[in-house]
Point group: C2
Chain length 148, copies 2
DNA sequence: CCATCTAGTCAGATCATCTGACCATCGTCA
DNA sequence: TGACGATGGTCAGATGATCTGACTAGATGG
């Protein structure tokens, strides 16, 4: 801005700030807890791994990157010990990406920070406004998330 | 997801979907209108150029990238004719990045799409909920945007 | 049992981003 | 007024993230 302080920014941009802030806080907390070899892109992929493992193709689709990119990031995550690849019992072509021990520990840290940051936001906005915000964003996802 | 459908996602992630959707829509419309040489990163920088020009350092700070990265992206934008660098009359060290003709035309397209997308979202959420959403996001920015 | 689709990998390129070092100018305070 | 720290910006080089295109192995349905 600097001068274009036409405060009414578009909703997409307004959504950017909280997202970025949350991501930065989580990454910082992870780094402080010793998980300092995680990049944002790795985190975005890792965050989408389901409890029983997720296929690479699904991860790629949900994170909106190509299979190649997802594969690359999963390679790194596996090398750092956060995830492991196991065969998919239902399909010999596929392999499931699953959290490894180190990954689970990191997730626990991330979850704690999420809760903490949301508490701060709630303190700033108030309980009711925060609940409305969550409701609106959740409904908005119906029209903005093609992979819901 | 795929199975971890614990619908209550953290607010940061929920913010991601609208932001991504808006960005994608704008970029697609620009590409369709002939501005197909814009990358998302270039767009993010360009979106922050004020009406009378903005310093590189300010652009970098607001987009949360280094001066080098911002300079690199501005180079590309200049080469494609979207922006131009002019001397800052108030400081001989500085140069202002300003929209060029092609840039202004592209901005006009982007603005139209913004309005269009917001209208769709409003139709989905309702007038009141959308207004509340905007209000909440704007207030949230007070604690999530260090460069406000 | 063949045609086709899906899961994933390999290779190579490009773009985005960073760190570190550097130069020119500004602003200030002795 | 002139030396010095702060600021605006660039250069060089490295790494990371991402893409397109081509490929292999296994699944699936007539």
């Amino acid at each position: 801005m600097t001068e274009s302080d036409e405060e009414r920014q578009n909703l997409g941009v307004l959504c950017f700030y909280p997202h970025r802030a949350m991501e930065a806080r989580i990454l910082a907390a992870l780094a402080a807890a010793g998980y300092d070899d995680l990049t944002p892109a790795q985190g975005r992929i890792a965050a989408r791994i389901g409890p029983r493992g997720t296929r690479l193709t699904d991860l790629a689709e949900q994170a909106l990157v190509t299979k190649q990119t997802a594969g690359h990031l999963v390679d790194q995550l596996a090398r750092s010990g956060y995830v492991e690849r196991v065969p998919d019992p239902t399909d010999a072509r596929a392999r499931l990406v699953r959290m490894a021990e180190r990954g689970l520990a990191a997730v626990a840290v991330a979850r704690r920070v999420e809760v903490e940051v949301e508490a701060e936001w709630t303190a700033h906005l108030g309980e009711e406004a925060t609940a409305q915000l969550r409701a609106a964003l959740t409904r908005l996802r119906e029209v903005t998330d093609p992979y819901r």
